[in-house]
């Protein structure tokens, strides 16, 4: 194949014009027909079902969220022998029908615009948390690109005791298991002025209900002179600790001439 915009390579059917990638459609359609036959029959063997689910897993790899459609199929017939015929449960038949119903849409749209929001959630059964933040589309693409490629199994405790623990706090009530506090101090002040002068800006911020640092002013002596090493390090320390949301630095309103004493 040379310079083609449509083709089947490495088990995937790619449409380079529309930007679609999916399992070869002819195979998916044939699989649908076989699946409908199994549903119509209502009986299967473990071997037959395993083989069929295996085929569907390959198809679903092209639209991973659709794995949410199947659950019971993975356990169906687990008590039966390999070649022993058993009656399919209602749930398993429903899942097979769902797969057939969704078959026409099991593809990835490569042209789908990346989201401009980043979402984070936990996986607990109780009090699930969800937060989001604005993020650039470039960053979204980068995150998708370098995302963890190899998943690992995380078990959610679905037992009665687990549900009770989730509701009441469980082992996290024990100080030994408590979640340690973050080392980050957080924002202690909202605003700080360097070269405060008469401090009108600080006063206005305080009036607005914000927490304002006392600031730095040359007139107050060496503690306000940024040419003093100790003062400079204090300011740098506040910046590094990230305890102040906003700094306002306004150099003194006087000449930078060489005749000024002390010199700036």
């Amino acid at each position: 194949m040379r310079g083609s915009q449509f083709g089947t390579v490495l088990g995937s059917e790619i449409d380079g014009k529309r930007g679609l990638i999916n399992a070869p459609r002819i195979r998916t359609l044939t699989l649908c027909q076989l699946t409908l036959s199994v549903v119509r029959l209502g009986w299967a063997t473990r071997k037959l079902l395993e083989s069929m689910v295996g085929c569907w897993i390959f198809v679903l790899l092209f639209r991973r969220p659709l794995f949410a459609l199947i659950s019971e199929l993975f356990h169906e017939g687990s008590q039966s022998k390999e070649d022993e015929a058993f009656q399919l449960s209602v749930g398993a038949k429903q899942e097979l029908l769902l797969l057939v119903g969704f078959a026409g849409f099991v593809s990835t749209n490569l042209r789908a615009a990346p989201s401009d929001r980043l979402f984070a959630s936990d996986a607990s059964l109780q009090g699930a948390g969800l937060c989001s933040s604005v993020i650039s589309r470039f960053a979204t693409l980068e995150l998708c690109r370098v995302a963890e490629q190899r998943g690992y199994y995380t078990r959610v405790d679905t037992s009665t005791l687990g549900a009770f623990d989730a509701r009441t706090g469980g082992i996290f009530k024990d100080p030994d298991f408590s979640i340690p506090k973050v080392l980050h101090e957080g924002y202690l002040w909202d605003f700080c002025e360097v070269f405060r002068g008469s401090g009108i800006l600080s006063h206005c911020h305080r009036e607005a209900g914000l927490r304002v640092h006392q600031g730095f002013e040359l007139q107050t002596g060496s503690t306000g002179n940024i040419l003093e090493c100790s003062t400079m390090l204090r300011i740098v320390g506040l910046i590094c600790r990230r305890v102040i949301r906003c700094f306002h630095v306004a150099p003194v309103c006087c000449t930078f001439g060489t005749l000024r004493k002390p010199r700036l």
Binding site: T28, L41, R145
Partner: protein, 407 residues
């Protein structure tokens, strides 16, 4: 076709609603509102997708390629199950319609235990997708000509390729051996040996140098309407070999491309190569060929006049060996992927920063290279105008000299 698409769409909307409502057992439609503009647009888009899907999904069974064998196997299994259920039905309802149709079926096709109260066992006609070896359906046209040892950078793998005994696990770790089976008659095996011999892929060793329980089996799997794929079954030999899988983890698969983003102003152009009979182009030393010893002992005189013949075999009993890299050998994938990767990298065809690999970040593009043993595929994102003005084939040439842009 239009009515089928409409029906499929209706079913899809129904099941989507059913899922959204939490899979209710019953549902009462109290009122029906007209579709909003957004809903109409969505339905139209879905219908368009389905129309495309149905249009591209139709074709001959040959379009199924390798899946044909598996689907046929599934279909056979299903047919036997249908036979089983119809027989059970006829026993339960002897005057029903199904008893007439089931009475016509041959007794040996029925399921075991259908009428005895035991669980209904439904064995498929064959245990797996393995087929009988038909020499006429196996193609060997080219003699092995690729000396891979020059392209194997891993010393352990190279050593194992030249002499598989170096990859053998300690004797105390060898598992219990289950003999492998050659899935064809002795005459057909000889016909196959002759095919191998014609292209220099066959050798013989004295029977004393081949341990019976470690001899290999042979079977075929469906490839297409005309050909099968030959698979050696060296499970006993594989069992006592240590696993080597460094390069195997770099195998690429099409699903990895699902992470690719195609901006509106670009299109994707594909070029791909599939090398014919890749494994069987490897030249292997005699020590390697001896690992591929096949069940079946012959008088050496049978092979007199063949390419593999040597006067030292006169009067001896011999076994045949497949004298090239065999599909089925535990480290065959590793050797093939490793040597092909090294070869392409040395020639500047495979750039590590552009290679799509399993469990590795997808390259930023605009060029994506995928290597899966003998399949080498290159995709490139190119400006839409370039593809439309000069055609994708020429655009890909121009695209290579364009500065490689980042997203």
């Amino acid at each position: 076709m239009r009515s089928i698409i409409r029906e499929h769409l209706r079913v899809f909307v129904c099941i989507s609603n059913w899922l959204v409502l939490g899979r209710p057992k019953s549902f009462t439609l109290n009122f029906r509102q007209p579709h909003s503009a957004a809903q109409r647009a969505m339905l139209s888009s879905l219908e368009q997708s389905l129309r495309l899907w149905y249009r591209l999904a139709s074709g001959h069974s040959s379009g199924l390629e390798r899946a044909y064998g598996k689907f046929t196997h599934l279909h056979d299994h299903l047919s036997r199950l249908e036979t089983a259920t119809s027989q059970v039905r006829s026993h339960l309802d002897p005057y029903g319609r199904s008893s007439f149709s089931s009475s016509k079926e041959k007794p040996d096709e029925g399921p075991s235990g259908a009428s005895s109260g035991k669980p209904v066992m439904c064995k498929a006609s064959q245990a797996s997708t393995a087929l009988q070896v038909e020499p006429d359906r196996l193609v060997f046209e080219h003699p092995p000509s690729f000396h891979a040892e020059g392209y194997i950078a891993d010393p352990l793998l190279k050593s194992g390729f030249l002499n598989p005994a170096h990859l053998r696990a300690p004797k105390e770790d060898w598992p219990k051996v289950r003999p492998a089976r050659v899935m064809c008659s002795r005459d057909r095996l000889l016909a196959l040996f002759k095919k191998w011999d014609n292209v220099g892929s066959f050798s013989i060793i004295p029977v004393s140098e081949s341990e019976v329980k470690y001899r290999c089996g042979l079977f075929a799997v469906y490839k297409n309407e005309e050909k099968d794929r030959q698979i050696l079954n060296p499970i006993p030999e594989n069992g006592r070999a240590i696993p080597v899988n460094g390069s195997t983890t770099s195998l690429a698969h099409g699903t990895l491309l699902c992470g690719l983003y195609l901006p509106p102003h670009e299109e994707l152009v594909i070029s791909a190569d599939d090398l014919e009979d890749f494994y069987h182009s490897y030249v292997v030393p005699q020590a390697h060929a001896a690992r591929n010893h096949i069940h079946g002992v012959f008088e050496s005189s049978v092979f007199e006049g063949w390419n593999c013949w040597d006067s030292k075999f006169v009067g001896k009993m011999v076994v045949g060996c497949f004298n090239t890299l065999a599909m089925g050998t535990s480290f065959a994938v590793e050797v093939a992927q490793h040597s092909h990767t090294t070869l392409l990298q040395r020639e500047g065809c495979l750039i590590p920063t552009e290679q799509v690999k399993y469990r590795s970040p997808l390259p930023r593009g605009p060029v994506y290279q995928l290597l899966c043993i003998d399949d080498f595929c290159v995709l490139q994102r190119l400006p839409k105008e370039l593809c439309q003005s000069v055609g994708p084939h020429r655009a890909i040439r121009l695209g290579f000299v364009l500065p490689r842009r980042r997203l």
